[in-house]
């Protein structure tokens, strides 16, 4: 009798293990969906997912990344600086890809019908500032359409930037397999294209991370498919300035969002600054690596260097210091408040953009953990398609002039002489929030 009783916990363990593996395997049902835009192919080779990535010095440097369907042997970007769309033969300059490889796929999980792909990254350097560059990517004989982007100016603030984060799949209207569709993400991406078409002064799109549920190819593939909706009708591609979030930790992120040395600098890198000419500096931080080590040291040096130099100084990172829905006391949020925020306050950062919470927020100006007109305003929380959670507007840092609500959104920042206008644009392209800030320099 007693021996049988001893077996009960073991049977219990066994049952739990079986349930666990059943649960994991249930995650893998057949799914399909998403958009498929233009594919340019030659025989079996296809090139897709063309994108422009900015890191440092976007006035003269850009990373061009794309995916090919086969390994191929020769991958390059053909480009030319021109004000008018050139013919294919006019793309007289070219640069070879610097980094190529087979995209990692866990076949046991690849049920989203994502095709096997090969990543390619090329660097365009010595570009002219404030200029239109037309380019196409080629893998062997297969080439993409001709796209274009504008480099950042050397000086002045005659431009706008878009900010947003959290584009994991979502929506509960229709499901494929057991996964929600990504309707909202596609709409937000189309909205971005419309915004750029209406306002060509928009230079780049700053993404606050959590691109997908995780950074495996089965999700990233569809993210890249959907991202093609941001391409305007005249084939303008908005350069991406990316950060890394807690759902971007898999190998697919490093493979597909290669940032040159920045990807590997110190632990897992992905913190850098982007200077838009001599007036605006954007610092991108990585909340998913050590906050207190090399990154903090780099941040302090960068703030010390750039605050006197730039009229506008902005910071973006993924996890929030001032969350709108998640618990305020969570250790990762508290760590940002403890180790980063005092530096941002000391060096008078003009505005901070955060993501992760799946809400829309704008805090009151905060200094020394309390409301202060000389403090920093924190905006964002992520609404590029991920289902929006309930916000908690009762928190002290949202009271009076602050805002915390559930709404898909993208932020637009337009620079004027001494002030910047910041607007949150909703999924229906309506203005959800608008305010102005003055430079603290």
């Amino acid at each position: 009798m007693i021996n049988r009783i001893y077996k009960i916990p073991f049977l219990f363990f066994l049952t739990q293990l079986c349930l666990f593996f059943c649960f994991i395997s249930c995650e893998s049902s057949t799914e399909n969906g998403g958009s498929v835009k233009s594919r340019v192919q030659s025989d079996d080779m296809k090139v897709m997912h063309t994108r422009v990535i900015w890191t440092n010095e976007p006035s003269n440097h850009a990373i061009i990344s794309w995916t090919s369907s086969d390994q191929g042997g020769r991958h390059l970007v053909k480009y030319v600086q021109s004000d008018q769309k050139p013919s294919e033969s006019a793309l007289r300059e070219s640069v070879q890809s610097m980094r190529d490889g087979k995209i990692s796929i866990d076949e046991s999980k690849n049920q989203l019908n994502s095709e096997q792909g090969y990543f390619h990254h090329a660097e365009m350097v010595n570009l002219d500032p404030d200029s239109k560059y037309y380019f196409r990517v080629c893998s062997d004989d297969a080439c993409s359409d001709i796209y274009w982007f504008r480099t950042a100016p050397l000086s002045g603030t005659d431009f706008s930037l878009l900010f947003g984060g959290d584009s994991r799949i979502g929506g509960n209207e229709v499901e494929y397999g057991h996964k929600s569709r990504h309707t909202e993400r596609q709409i937000m991406n189309k909205n971005i294209a419309t915004l750029v078409e209406k306002d060509p002064s928009i230079l780049a799109f700053v993404h606050g991370a959590d691109f997908c549920s995780n950074a495996e190819w089965r999700y990233l593939y569809w993210w890249f498919e959907d991202y093609e909706y941001t391409i305007t009708s005249d084939n303008r591609i908005l350069p991406l300035i990316i950060s890394r979030g807690n759902h971007d930790m898999e190998i697919g992120f490093v493979e597909n969002f290669w940032l040159g040395d920045i990807s590997y600098k110190n632990s897992d890198g992905y913190y850098f600054n982007t200077e838009f000419g001599s007036d605006v500096n954007l610092i991108t931080l990585n909340t998913e690596t050590s906050l207190t080590g090399d990154q903090r040291k780099w941040l302090e040096n960068e703030l010390k260097r750039s605050r006197p130099q730039y009229k506008w100084l902005f910071v973006q990172y993924h996890k929030p210091a001032w969350p709108a829905t998640k618990p305020f006391e969570r250790e990762d949020f508290a760590r940002i408040r403890k180790h980063w925020i005092p530096l941002l306050e000391e060096y008078d950062v003009d505005l901070v953009v955060e993501s992760d919470g799946h809400t829309l927020k704008r805090t009151v100006p905060i200094l020394n953990n309390k409301k202060d007109d000389k403090g920093i305003i924190y905006i964002g929380e992520g609404g590029l398609g991920v289902p929006q959670r309930k916000a908690d507007p009762a928190r002290w840092y949202f009271k009076d002039v602050g805002l915390a609500t559930s709404a898909h959104h993208v932020w637009k920042m337009t620079f004027k002489n001494n002030y910047a206008q910041v607007s949150a644009i909703g999924i229906d392209r309506n203005i959800l929030d608008q305010f102005t800030i003055r430079s603290k320099q």
Partner: protein, 275 residues
């Protein structure tokens, strides 16, 4: 002056009390998170599965009630209670794994499951003070203690091994615990390279501890594992402040498991003296 028999009884009762306290500390943060709607279950079901907030709230309340009833059951000496709590904690750990968003979440799943499995120990612990006959008493003390010892040994070893591997991988959170704690105490930020070296060393010690446990259960090793578990748990409060209480107390089993081995070790000594 207590007799050796009384000392043994005291140790066994301590073992039961220790288990009850650990299960309680393990369960409270989960009940708190479920009650507030801030658990990973809420996020996962809403974001990935498209559940409505209303449905999730009902589920969370049901979980809260089951956990509270089971916790009461643990203190009322109802043997199955630990298992029910274990099922819920492991389910939440699995949901957290599926939700993703964590670095090295495979290794973290292992340590979460070990913590979740801890309440199962209650099944073996309770009979140590609940026997109806002399033969039952002897049987329980021999067999149950052996099972508890095996369980604690495997769990302690796995916890130290997973932590060791995380250290060797240069887990950034551990770097922040170390750099942040030193910054809190001394007001200076040490170099990341120094912290990486220290974390690496700690990792090697953890792995050695986890392996040595299989070779010897020398009391000096057990005391070392116990002290080390206290340090690594309390560093979460030192670095993150008292707001980080949940992260600290869900790690109570890390401290309790070596302590269970120490108690069994002491009990074994008493018993060998008795015989």
């Amino acid at each position: 002056m207590f007799t050796k028999q009384e000392n043994t009884e005291f140790l066994l009762k301590s073992l039961v009390l220790l288990t009850q306290i650990t299960i309680t500390l393990l369960t409270i943060p989960l009940i708190y998170e479920l009650y507030r709607g801030s658990s990973v279950v809420n996020i996962y079901l809403f974001i990935e599965k498209g559940w409505s907030y209303e449905s999730i709230s009902i589920l969370e309340i049901v979980f809260c009630v089951i956990l509270l009833l089971s916790l009461t059951g643990v203190w009322l000496h109802i043997r199955i209670s630990g298992m029910v709590i274990s099922v819920i904690i492991i389910a939440v750990a699995v949901v957290s794994y599926l939700n993703g968003g964590k670095l090295h979440h495979d290794l973290k799943l292992i340590s979460s499951i070990i913590r979740g499995v801890f309440p199962v120990i209650f099944w073996w612990v309770l009979p140590l003070v609940q026997y109806k006959s002399y033969s039952d008493e002897m049987k329980y003390k021999a067999d149950n203690l052996l099972m508890i010892k095996r369980f604690a040994l495997v769990s302690t070893s796995l916890i130290f091994l997973t932590h060791g591997f995380l250290c060797l991988k240069g887990y950034p959170l551990f770097l922040d615990y170390l750099i942040g704690s030193i910054a809190t105490i001394l007001g200076i930020y040490i170099e990341q390279s120094s912290a990486e070296f220290m974390v690496m060393t700690i990792g090697i010690i953890d792995i050695l501890g986890g392996i040595l446990l299989w070779i010897t259960q020398d009391k000096r090793l057990l005391y070392w594992l116990f002290i080390w578990a206290v340090l690594t748990t309390s560093i979460r409060i030192l670095e993150g402040g008292f707001g980080n209480w949940q992260e600290a107390i869900i790690r109570t089993p890390h401290i309790t498991l070596p302590l269970v081995l120490i108690l069994i070790h002491i009990q074994g000594q008493y018993r060998s003296v008795q015989t």
